[in-house]
Point group: C2
Chain length 404, copies 2
């Protein structure tokens, strides 16, 4: 008889977004005319830019010609794209053959756990994007869920709050085999400083841990002093893997294109190079990203593409400024929104869900309760800046009416 | 210090295709004018058909318009595509919400192992497509590799040869939690009969095992009496998962689109529905197939698309008939090639690699040594029918000159 992977039973239900959807449905039943504005999901809304869409469309059309057709490519991605990522995105900080193109950062994070298997321990920012914890739990890298604490046993959670400048006290932290670190952060919008990342790399080097650095929002960094890649930090090549994506950069959330960098210097305890195993995993249970998407990625990294991408990013960052400005004018304490498309707002004396409820019921604005990303998100709401401008403006008006 | 997943060390190097490539390079160094014809890889060569390519191209172009843009979709796939697969491909044998769209059958097979985890045991056809064994080994479902036997400890291998009509003696077989079954088979080209699949389902029901049925070549079945889906077999819904793909059907090897069906009735030992866990896995570490590819899939399943697809399949099956006819005329015993795009040829008194060497050195034809798919493939070569017609014809001429 076939048993269920016992680790799946440890997982908590995908509670957050289904619960939000349930409440939306319920509201629309009570008030079918309600004009709900979603500021919850980090889903891009602006059309693909002309140059990039034309490249996708042209490549797809040419697949019907003998000259333009292509079947399986390398599982690691098109050479041209790997080279372009190394050259134009990383400016030579990494080599083309250290770049592995894929269909998504979330998918790569799922696969990365296979490098380490069930015995590995890990540390994670609290709050954080759910896939690090859930992926590790499925792989058997945790104990059971503790309902009262809302923590899994065996995982090291690093509370990251305004009080510690969204950075843990590493002096007092236990070691872990793996460290998931997301900067600019989803959900808090905090972008780690160079000094913080230097400390993180030092911690990893001291404990010989491996950092899995999620840089999916790196292109949203506006402050030139902030690192866009972990590989800008000296010594990172021996201790870090970087996951990155075209999703938020170029609006490819639906098109699906991402990459992971595994530097040659990165080794396991026994000295085995991690890149060799990653290559084996990617060639064994992956078969390459869509060739159409990869040609879109090439267009996105060209000069014309990058100019267009900057326009998209500016648009969303203007949304973020509108949201943050409005909330701050109304006396709400906010973080993020400057180098990330998320605004992290604190509501004193009420829980995340109470704050959610308030905006939802009184202004028909959907946010994400911060506690859904981890216990240290309690008392916060995440506002996503990925909306249509008209919706963002209207949401701001409603907030003003409600909070003034 | 961070340890390597110990299961990765058990894996054998991706030996087969790298070794073939090494020999190609060596030949071209010796004889730069050599015109090598590849009949080794199962990679599609014919352009996408006009209607399907137009749909891909049009959808990509429309992503640059406010009306046409789409960000993240459901991780499980577009509702329209799930419905079309259930309705037009399965003719109602499965429900739309049992269909999970993905980026590839190989990728799904990698993820499926997460349902069962490290403790599960499995049985597999010998010879077989490498991902079943390699994926299971990475997940910790095997012992060590036994060099002499070329078997992993702890895996049940079912020799499938012409002598047993490519079907194991299930009476004497031990039970296993999981059964990987590929029909039409890669590499042997054997398509299981209804009676064989009834036996397989019966075996699974008796032992309460789960069949992972790989139907990636189902559209190549020409004989209407042969089942295209495991769900045509009574009782299969309680014991089987089916993996399928647009790769070989519509030339989507590079475009990337596939699906997996998990029936509601399928449960683990403890009664938990497998579909719930599969949904959790797909929503946790996957983020949907490319929306462009999914719209191509919709076009491929339409009446016009299916007519085009039949043209593609006929083309490759004519290649298969040419290859098989030529070999048989020359006295070579062959299987497959009738309901599958692979011809499985036996060469008496010589090993797979000796036979490979003969065709490679004397005729510059690249085949795949059968032993690369498992010990029971020894003495066989796989000929792929996915070539250009001109290459196939020329290869047949060379075979005639060489063997006559």
């Amino acid at each position: 008889m076939t048993r269920r992977n016992p680790n799946l039973a440890k997982l908590q239900g995908g509670y957050l977004f289904p619960e939000i959807n349930r409440r939306k449905m319920e509201l629309l039943e009570r008030d079918p005319a309600a004009k709900i504005i979603g500021m919850d999901v980090g889903n891009t809304t602006q059309p693909l830019t002309p140059f990039i869409a034309a490249a996708l469309s042209r490549y797809a059309a040419e697949l019907s010609t003998p000259e333009g057709y292509s079947g399986y490519g390398h599982e690691q991605g098109l050479n041209a794209l790997r080279e372009e990522i190394a050259k134009s995105y990383y400016r030579g900080l990494v080599a083309a053959d250290e770049v592995f193109v894929s269909d998504g950062a979330k998918c790569d994070i799922g696969r990365l756990q296979l490098l380490f298997g069930a015995g590995a321990t890990f540390a994670v920012q609290d709050p954080s994007y759910p896939v690090y914890v859930d992926g590790g739990v499925i792989m058997g890298q945790s104990g059971d869920f503790k309902e009262e604490l809302r923590y899994f046993d065996g995982i090291t959670y690093w509370p990251c709050t305004p009080e510690n400048n969204f950075f843990p006290d590493l002096q007092t932290s236990p070691a872990a085999d793996l460290i998931y670190w997301c900067s600019p952060n989803n959900p808090t919008g905090a972008a780690s400083t160079k000094l913080q990342l230097q400390e993180l790399v030092k911690f990893a080097r001291t404990h010989r841990a491996i950092i899995i650095f999620d840089a999916a929002y790196a292109m949203y960094i506006q402050d030139p002093a902030l690192p866009r890649s972990i590989f800008e930090i000296e010594g990172a090549r021996e201790v870090a893997i970087e996951v990155n994506s075209f999703s938020k950069m170029a609006g490819f959330t639906g098109v699906r294109l991402a990459w992971t960098v595994v530097p040659r210097e990165l080794c396991f305890e026994g000295g085995e190079p991690v890149i060799t195993d990653w290559n084996r995993i990617m060639t064994t249970i992956f078969n390459g990203a869509s060739n159409i998407a990869q040609h879109g990625g090439l267009a996105a990294l060209s000069d014309t593409g990058q100019a267009e991408v900057q326009g998209l990013i500016s648009f969303y960052m203007e949304n973020a400024a509108l949201i943050k400005g409005t909330l701050e004018d109304l006396g709400v304490q906010c973080w993020g929104g400057k180098n990330a498309p998320y605004v992290w707002a604190r509501f004193e004396n009420c829980s995340s869900w109470q704050a959610f409820e308030h905006f939802f019921e009184k202004a028909h604005i959907v946010t994400t309760p911060g506690v859904g990303f981890g216990p240290s998100g309690e008392g916060f709401l995440r506002f996503s800046a990925f909306g249509q401008r008209h919706d963002v403006e209207q949401a701001c008006e409603r907030l003003q009416k409600l909070l003034r």
